[in-house]
């Protein structure tokens, strides 16, 4: 069995995007924020376990919204090989959290008009 390559750059990007999402989030600590914080905790650990040597290429993160950050992070995570779950035990949890957060944010945006 050959070892699967670890997407270290992508992990770093997810870490950065979720950090940005938390930064952009308001002080309104609700369920969505709770999920986002937990996802950030997972990404932080993944990034520490699988560091990248290169600076992360993320175009103008300041122009992203919270939803934009979460969607970009979800896209990254969904590109990862599912078989990486053996090496990233929180992979499934991260996918679930990001999916839930995105849905909650979409609902919140829709209700705001």
């Amino acid at each position: 069995m050959t070892a699967r390559p670890m997407p270290t750059d992508s992990i770093a990007k997810v870490d950065l995007l979720l950090g940005q999402a938390i930064l952009l989030g308001t002080d309104d600590w609700n369920d969505t924020t709770a999920n986002l914080h937990e996802a950030m905790g997972i990404a932080l650990l993944m990034a520490a376990q699988h560091p990248t040597g290169e600076p992360v290429d993320l175009p103008e993160p300041n122009q992203l919204s919270v939803l934009g950050c979460v969607e970009d992070a979800l896209r990254e995570v969904q590109n990862w090989d599912l078989a990486l779950a053996a090496d990233l035990p929180d992979l499934a949890r991260l996918r679930v959290l990001l999916t839930d957060t995105r849905r909650d944010l979409l609902v919140a945006n829709a209700s705001q008009g």
Binding site: H37, L44, L45, A86, D90
Partner: protein, 605 residues
């Protein structure tokens, strides 16, 4: 035991011209080392133990940069007295009430750290020492059961101590700020819930919530100053980040069995994840007011734990409905017996004394789990039966820690192998067995890593098949059955040659038994006289499983000895694994068995 400590500490207060030290922090680190050794001698030390937290806090204080050495009365005498006490307890001096001794140790440590804090002028070092003092204060005045959040917060404090020398690095500041934000959010949810249920006074809860928000705002300001894209990490940064990441993950993992009261109490005791220390680390001026206020509010709780009322879920009513919470990863209530998490970092090197203490805790736990309350074995006699369940838990913890100390071997040996996960699983099972079997009185406590190493190598040699099942390895084809067609059936009556052979065999057997070490010969002779394993164990004063294992080892050695004399090693059926047998023999030949102490009494039967 405590007289010498008390005398030496009194000298620090009253001696007109006490011996001085030029560096109080160095003295204090040595003292904490002795305190930790003494605590370890009482039994396994979980990461959220107040002495463990004191050690972490001291490490943090010692790592504060640019602190001038402090001239103060030396703690050398206290340190020596504590080290002597630790040595005596480790050497097996009779400790009647370990719980009581631990409580005394907490009191002594509390008084000492307070004294050191008062003598320390630097505010940052003071804050660290205050963290250790608060942990001991809580343990003394409001002892609480071990909680998942407590373990996570202990890891968080350790991570903060680790980042201390690198706290000006942007990547570390970012991680600390993000990690603490998660903790603040958790605290906010818990306090809101407690306020809604009437568990906390409204004014107190409101003050806490205000300051939590204030500190979160300060963290946001810190994060805005850091451009994440430009972050590079050295190897040292990465190691530190890993500590922070693990701690954050531990804190966000929820335990279904943990009550909101226990969780919130844990957060308050940690002074909301050592907010003051975080404030010093991230160096955000706007954080100062909030961190100090949170620290004060948490101390208010420590001084008066009745501030947080325990409310059953049914008492809440409509008004007390908990704030809806996000689906955090919930760990189901553990089955019985509960899985024990190691209280040490995997790969921690245990010295001989620590292994000895772990084995003793293990044996006590095994004895406590299997005893008949009416007729307890000597090992647990004199211990209050109400403490036996605790002994069982401590025994399991000790075994888990023994395994944790050597588990990296399993990872190192299986890296890159096919079926690595299955092999690791099997190695874990074998190591658990080894941790239960290991007898420091025969092999020597400092040889536990080598014993574990042989177990790992043996498991590796056997391997697992594609289904993860352990392979059965047999040294050669089994002897084929001999056809008796051409032979007359032998007579059942022994002939003269049979009688001579039998006498020779008995003589050989007796010689082989004589050659056994005392610790193995005794049980085997008793067994040959017809005593049961239980009786042997009771007579010798150890557990039944130990007796069973010694009998097993004795029989194997006798078998091997006789086979050697007859020049026919394969003349006997090898029941146990030949590689393990050989490894065990080589091991004992290389290091020589340590003669076990004679049993305290052995009545003739």
């Amino acid at each position: 035991m405590w007289d010498a400590v008390r005398r030496e500490f009194t000298r620090c207060h009253w001696d007109a011209a006490p011996p001085l030290t030029l560096d109080l922090m160095s003295d204090w680190m040595r003292t904490v080392h002795s305190l930790t050794a003494l605590r370890r001698a009482f039994g396994p030390v979980p990461p959220d133990d107040p002495i463990a937290l004191l050690a972490t806090a001291t490490m943090g204080a010692a790592r504060v940069p640019d602190v001038s050495p402090v001239l103060a009365p030396s703690l050398q005498g206290v340190d020596a007295a504590l080290a002597e006490a630790a040595r005596r307890v480790s050497a097996g001096s009779h400790v009647v009430d370990r719980q009581g001794e631990q409580a005394t140790l907490n009191q002594v440590a509390y008084e000492l750290v307070h004294w050191v804090r008062v003598h320390t002028p630097d505010q940052r070092a003071k804050a660290w020492l205050q963290a250790g003092e608060t942990a001991l204060d809580s343990a003394i005045h409001a002892p609480a059961v071990r909680s998942t959040i407590g373990v996570g917060l202990a890891a968080w404090q350790e991570a903060l101590a680790a980042v201390q020398p690198l706290h000006e690095t942007a990547i570390v500041r970012r991680s600390v700020a993000l990690g603490h934000l998660m903790l603040l959010r958790e605290a906010q949810a818990m306090v809101s819930e407690a306020r809604g249920r009437g568990m906390l006074p409204e004014s107190y809860a409101d003050a806490v919530l205000d300051n939590l928000r204030g500190l979160a705002g300060a963290h946001h300001a810190t994060l805005r100053q850091i451009d994440g894209r430009q972050l590079g990490a050295s190897r040292v940064d990465q190691a530190v980040m890993l500590k922070v990441g693990v701690a954050v993950r531990q804190m966000t993992t929820r335990d279904a069995a943990e009550t909101p009261h226990a969780r919130l109490a844990g957060l308050l005791r940690s002074r909301f994840g050592q907010a003051v220390l975080v404030g010093h680390l991230i160096q955000q001026p706007s954080a100062r007011t909030a961190t100090e206020a949170l620290g004060r509010l948490a101390l208010e709780y420590v001084a008066n734990p009745t501030l947080l009322r325990s409310v059953e879920p049914s008492e809440g009513g409509d008004g007390g409905r908990p704030t809806p919470r996000a689906a955090a990863p919930v760990r189901e209530a553990a089955p019985t017996p509960p899985l024990t998490e190691p209280s040490i970092q995997p790969g921690t090197v245990l010295d001989g004394a620590a292994v000895q203490a772990h084995c003793r805790a293990r044996d006590l736990g095994v004895a406590a789990a299997s005893v008949d309350p009416g007729n307890p074995p000597e090992l647990v006699r004199g211990i209050d039966p109400s403490r036996w369940p605790q002994l069982v838990v401590e025994g399991r913890q000790a075994v888990t820690d023994l395994v944790a100390s050597v588990i990296p071997m399993a990872y190192a040996q299986t890296r890159g192998l096919t079926n690595a996960a299955d092999l690791r699983g099997q190695m874990f099972v074998e190591l658990m067995g080894a941790a239960y079997r290991f007898d420091p009185s025969i092999i020597g406590p400092e040889r536990w890593p080598m014993y574990a190493w042989m177990t790992v190598k043996h498991t590796l040699w056997r391997g697992v098949d594609d289904s993860g099942v352990v392979r059965k390895r047999i040294r050669g084809p089994r002897p084929t059955a001999v056809s008796m067609d051409q032979w007359d059936p032998p007579s059942t009556n022994p002939g003269p040659s049979d009688i001579i052979e039998q006498r020779d065999s008995i003589s050989l057997l007796a010689r082989a038994v004589e050659l056994l070490p005392t610790a193995l010969r005794g049980p085997l002779e008793e067994s040959m006289r017809g005593s049961t394993t239980k009786t042997i164990a009771e007579d010798a004063g150890y557990s039944e499983s130990t007796a069973r294992r010694r009998l097993h080892e004795a029989r194997d050695l006798v078998k091997a000895e006789i086979a050697g004399w007859e020049g026919n090693p394969s003349g006997y059926e090898i029941v146990t694994d030949p590689v393990l047998d050989r490894a065990q023999r080589l091991f004992e030949q290389s290091f020589g068995p340590v003669s076990a102490p004679e049993p305290r009494h052995r009545p003739a039967r």
